[in-house]
């Protein structure tokens, strides 16, 4: 008979290792390859002379981009964990409550308003995501209780409606089509330190909140009655966690556009590697999501260099085959 005893420590170490490799690689590799000696020198560990051009590329371009990719990956992966656990639904992902379509509509509006600088895109996207969220939570909140089925269904309905509005705007404003499509597939091209500063606090704070509730998250697997009778106020805790996860997703969507599959796939992968205990699942998913996004961004900007692909294409290419594999595995197990 099969037994499950995940190699918890080996799995965690593997992810930590991948995280370090992905971070260093995304600093060094690109259209201009930076020798590792230069990085060591910049860290004060080598005696090579630092080339100003390398310094510029590394610090001005690649570092903020790697940090942004890392933070976005962290936020999406952990939001995925929280959504899947709180909704008790393995297919839940951070975009399911209309955040992506709300953000897309906001961004689209910013593109078609004449004379608006590109800096406004993020603000519009954030506001769009937030309005969609507030609307959906208002519908899903019945008599002070949150009904997860109503929440999911209204997420789908509102999401489809907003996506239709975006498509309509695209059809009416064909000159912005490329811009809009590129944004809805996610991109880190324009990332600077200012955007990293914008998301760093919300993302790290959200990870702290999730970790604070690791035991409560573990108990949610029992369903609401089971969780309550084992000592956690499940309705209250899931309200808090879903709102935090939604906000953190709205923040990262506003700087990157919509990057799919991270929040869906990473939690499953990490659960397989380190087991279902959120004490490990939260921090290791954060690192795995960060590594996955840094690696995806590296591929996005090098594979057809000097052109850059939207990062969402890469995450979907890498994520969907793995997800299909997971579904087949699940199917085999249940038969």
């Amino acid at each position: 008979m099969r037994s499950i005893k995940p190699r918890k420590y080996a799995g965690s170490l593997l992810i930590v290792g991948l995280f370090i490799i992905a971070f260093v690689a995304s600093l060094l590799i690109g259209s201009e390859r930076i020798p590792s000696g230069q990085l060591l020198a910049m860290l004060g560990l080598g005696d090579e002379a630092i080339e100003p051009m390398y310094y510029q590329i590394l610090v001005q371009l690649r570092l903020p981009r790697a940090l942004a990719a890392g933070l976005i990956g962290m936020a999406l992966a952990n939001s995925g964990v929280v959504f899947q656990t709180c909704f008790r639904n393995p297919l839940a992902d951070p975009y399911m409550l209309g955040i992506s379509s709300g953000a897309a509509l906001g961004a689209t509006i910013s593109f078609i308003i004449p004379g608006l600088s590109s800096g406004w895109t993020g603000v519009f996207a954030f506001v769009g995501a937030l309005l969609a969220l507030i609307f959906i939570y208002t519908i899903g909140w019945i008599d002070g209780k949150m009904d997860s089925t109503v929440l999911i269904l209204s997420g789908i309905a509102v999401g489809s409606f907003l996506s239709a509005v975006v498509s309509l705007m695209v059809a009416l404003n064909q000159e912005h089509m490329e811009q809009i499509i590129f944004w809805t597939m996610g991109s880190l091209n324009a990332i600077r330190f200012s955007q990293v500063r914008l998301v760093v606090l919300p993302v790290l704070a959200s990870v702290v909140v999730y970790f604070y509730y690791w035991k409560d998250l573990n108990l949610m697997v029992l369903g609401e009655d089971g969780a309550i009778t084992t000592g956690t106020n499940a309705p209250r805790v899931s309200k808090i966690l879903l709102v935090v996860a939604s906000l953190s997703t709205a923040f990262v969507v506003s700087i990157s556009g919509i990057i799919g599959f991270v929040g869906l796939v990473i939690p499953h992968l990490v659960r397989l590697l380190v087991g279902p205990n959120h004490r490990r699942l939260i921090p290791i998913s954060a690192l795995a999501g960060a590594s996955f996004l840094m690696a995806s961004d590296l591929i996005a900007r090098t594979i057809v260099s000097p052109r850059q692909l939207p990062i969402g294409i890469i995450t979907a290419f890498l994520g969907s085959p793995y997800f299909i594999y997971l579904i087949i595995r699940l199917k085999r197990r249940s038969s």
Partner: protein, 258 residues
């Protein structure tokens, strides 16, 4: 131990209501809740557990249930559901370990004493040999013992069992109830169980709460409550009572003509 007075509850979208039920269950007492389907057994249990908010007084060890935090309640009451759908795969041991959470501090994992408790209960319920197996791979009887183990490891003063033997064959039904009886007698734990089998309820319980359409039809010792009149009135069945001369237990035999 647990006392409810004039408890009233109504589902929002439903006509069904629990109307003015009062009960007092003493420490170490085994009480079966019986009644036809839809008579409010599970609802009453969920009210006592604090899952459903009801009007009226619910006292746990002399103190109103509202004065307890969710965690404090879980230190006093444990619940074994009839069926448990898990959203993610857990191994037997991982599942049982969750029952120790009410006794651990927020940021600390399980301590050696918790592991010892988990081990003790897994041995008692005879599931230690499956500890690393995913729960969904177990048979109905094994799974039921895992659910029981998680409830026992919580070290409750009151143990709630929602149809604990529904999916089990006769042998497993008896062994399950024997484990509960022996363990709870040793530790002086009160047991409140929803039962369908009148014979097992009769012989297992100190007291029986008979529910009918959301009201308490009768409450007392099995001999007083499970009378031919009551059973006919509530269940619509004609029954005979036969004593087993070998062990003195009582059988309730319904009219079995089809």
């Amino acid at each position: 131990m647990i006392q409810i007075e004039d408890v009233v509850f109504r589902y929002q979208a439903d006509e069904f209501r629990i109307a003015g039920i009062s009960l007092r269950i003493r420490q170490g007492e085994r009480v079966s809740i019986i009644g036809p389907n839809g008579s409010g057994k599970t609802t009453l249990m969920k009210i006592m557990l604090g899952i459903l908010p009801a009007k009226g007084v619910i006292k746990l060890v002399g103190q109103s249930i509202d004065e307890y935090t969710t965690k404090q309640r879980a230190q006093v009451m444990a619940y074994m559901p009839q069926f448990q759908a898990l959203s993610h795969t857990l191994s037997v041991q991982e599942y049982v370990e969750l029952g120790r959470y009410p006794h651990t501090e927020r940021f600390r994992g399980l301590q050696p004493i918790d592991h010892a408790k988990v081990e003790e209960v897994m041995v008692l319920t005879d599931i230690a040999q499956y500890r690393d197996r995913p729960i969904e791979y177990l048979s109905g009887g094994e799974r039921q013992r895992v659910f029981l183990a998680k409830a026992l490891v919580q070290e409750p003063k009151v143990l709630f069992l929602d149809e604990p033997i529904t999916f089990l064959d006769l042998n497993q039904q008896l062994s399950m109830l024997r484990i509960v009886k022996e363990y709870c007698e040793n530790k002086n734990i009160s047991v409140i169980a929803i039962m369908h089998d009148l014979n097992l309820a009769f012989n297992f319980s100190h007291k029986i709460a008979l529910l009918s359409q959301g009201s308490l039809a009768d409450f007392g010792e099995p001999k007083q409550v499970l009378t031919a009149e009551n059973i006919e009135k509530i269940f619509g069945l004609n029954v005979n009572f036969v004593d087993n001369p070998r062990d003195g237990s009582t059988f309730i035999i319904p009219d079995l003509t089809f």
